[in-house]
Point group: C2
Chain length 374, copies 2
């Protein structure tokens, strides 16, 4: 069992789920709210967690929506408070993680959510956070070790909350929980992890250790995503994809870039409920073309990590890989219409992630990137 202590303590290996009771005791959590979603319940994973909890008191909130909303956060918070919970266990992909973090944020510091937005300096207002135990069931978000939580606010913005206090007290990464993830979700979440690694490396923020972690995550992710999609029972590939996901999020303490600004914006389009990882995969080629001349040296290192010949076009390589993995070729195939352009650009411009893109972004640039990704 690898125990990594960088941003937080991470227990990482097949079978790690068995540590949950021990970790609850260590963190003095006696009545956790388990935050999860219907997919996790349906796949029988919540049952496996409850088996480990073995009669220990706990509450369950399993109605997390994809791309969680402020309303869902308030509903889970209500359950947390009414039941006298003292900690949170997030189990699932990015949505339950983010929702659980937001509940912990409000439980410890009072609302409304909007006042903690980092763009207005709100991260400083975060004082207390109850212990969060994060158990990923996909390999993509990395939210189990990340400083971030993304919530669609009542006013329509998809806001990113970011603070070291939002890093879970412990991450329990058990690749066994991803073995039944279907190929399409494996592909989409895997490309999410790969995008985290790439955008973190390209961010101009100076943090070489994070850059090294991102390059290592990319090295593992790019080598293993095809095997994991092709054969979900490939334990080695599942392990490596989960590691790429964790490393991606460790790396993005450096910030992300234009792909995420665009994906966050598209992720909040009403009615469509588009998958974050799929959006990242679709936006990545155009953004890689756009940024190329602003970070030549880093492109060389990305090329090496992806085991491509120097001078290879990274954008082409990603587009080709997307096609091999059965991911959509563009936004049109996902239901995004040209009429949504203005809305897409407006929220992409507001997004925090764009600020660490290696090349500055204008309104026109966002338009161009969206058109190129259609």
């Amino acid at each position: 069992m690898a125990t990594l202590s960088y941003l937080t303590t991470t227990h990482f290996d097949f079978g790690a789920l068995s540590l949950v009771g021990k970790e609850m005791k260590r963190l003095n959590v006696r009545r956790p709210l388990v935050v999860t979603d219907a997919g996790v319940v349906g796949a029988g994973l919540l049952a496996r967690l409850e088996e480990q909890l073995n009669g220990m008191e706990h509450q369950i909130y399993s109605s997390t929506p994809a791309n969680p909303t402020e309303a869902a956060v308030l509903s889970a918070l209500d359950q947390f408070s009414r039941s006298g919970c003292d900690g949170i266990i997030c189990m699932g992909g990015g949505s339950p993680m983010d929702l659980g973090k937001a509940v912990a944020l409000l439980a410890g510091n009072g609302g409304p959510l909007a006042r903690f937005e980092p763009s207005s300096g709100g991260a400083k207002l975060i004082e207390r956070i109850c212990p969060i135990i994060a158990i990923p069931t996909t390999s993509g978000t990395g939210s189990e070790v990340s400083v971030g939580a993304v919530i669609i606010l009542d006013d329509g913005r998809k806001a990113t909350f970011a603070s070291p206090k939002l890093i879970p007290a412990v991450a329990i990464c058990d690749p066994d929980l991803t073995m039944s993830l279907p190929p399409q979700l494996t592909a989409a979440t895997g490309m999410d992890a790969i995008t985290h690694c790439i955008e973190a490396v390209l961010s101009p923020v100076v943090n070489p250790p994070a850059e090294g972690v991102g390059l290592d995550g990319l090295w593992r992710g790019w080598r293993n995503i095809e095997s994991a999609v092709k054969d979900g029972r490939d334990k080695e590939a599942r392990w490596q994809m989960m590691m790429a996901s964790t490393e991606g999020a460790m790396a993005f303490v450096k910030g992300l870039g234009a792909v995420h600004a665009l994906s966050h914006s598209a992720g909040r389009l009403p009615n469509l409920r588009l998958h974050h990882g799929t959006l990242n995969a679709v936006f990545l080629p155009a953004v890689l073309r756009f940024n190329r001349d602003s970070a030549r040296d880093k492109y060389e290192r990305l090329t090496t990590a992806m085991n491509l010949p120097q001078g290879a076009d990274l954008a082409d390589a990603v587009a080709e890989r997307n096609a091999q993995l059965g991911l959509p070729a563009g936004l049109s195939a996902m239901g995004v219409a040209p009429s949504m352009m203005e809305d897409l650009v407006r929220f992409a411009e507001l997004d925090l992630a764009g600020r660490t893109n290696p090349r500055q972004l204008t309104r026109g640039d966002f338009e161009t990137l969206i058109v190129a990704s259609m």
Copy 2:
């Protein structure tokens, strides 16, 4: 200014020294013992620290020997206790760092030092440690972010103490403090950093983020060591070498290997007082030959990080680089005689670092490695 928060908080950039007063306040340190050595005093670096302390109360212990001894630790501890100190500022290379950590260890937990040895499970006995502020003046040891402290005990062993509690509360990495480091020390400490990165990557302990950090440190160190040695005023090279040093120590949470087992043993040879980094440089080629078949995949990644063609002999590349940098060609040139063999092997076998070498080491292997390094 890059502020990295992985194992500890690190302020990293030219000018970072100016943060020392602020950090003392944050850590509630009112009367630190400044642990340093004659070289740091002679180079005028202590004066630069005192300028920053600007009248704040502090004590100075500047008699740290190269390869610090238990006796020196006790003498500094005496000064710490008599003066009612409440924290430690280590300024210098590895020796003042290690001595300062050992003082903090004894001040908080009582002696003798030997009972904290990790080989006998003693790390668990470490309870309290006063705040340590670490300010490196060389780029090699990385002790400012490491879990370790190496002290020659009264019984003659060179013991490695290792515990997360020995990580300084904050590292202040100001490459400006290394600008006057002479070429030979730049070369020797630089090869120390490079050895840390290589041995950490090769350790079989599972920790991919640390591996990524080690590979990044190697990439920076290998590319910049020649420039830093050739022109000490090359700010970019000094920055990169200091980063390689910090990353090397972040990486070796995975453990080290045979090079360090041998260097620790040779470092305690009475009368010779051999430089740790120089010893690492001299042992590295033979150990790289010895380990090659036990870690083929990792050798490929090391080769890439060092920008060598695949299949290149890493041992030859290091030996060649040592020669270019003016480092000794072998142990004989450093005064080690064949008569010291038994002593060298005995203490190398006892050393903690050998346990994470990728290939198991017998007494005969150590003999072979020493003969090959003569």
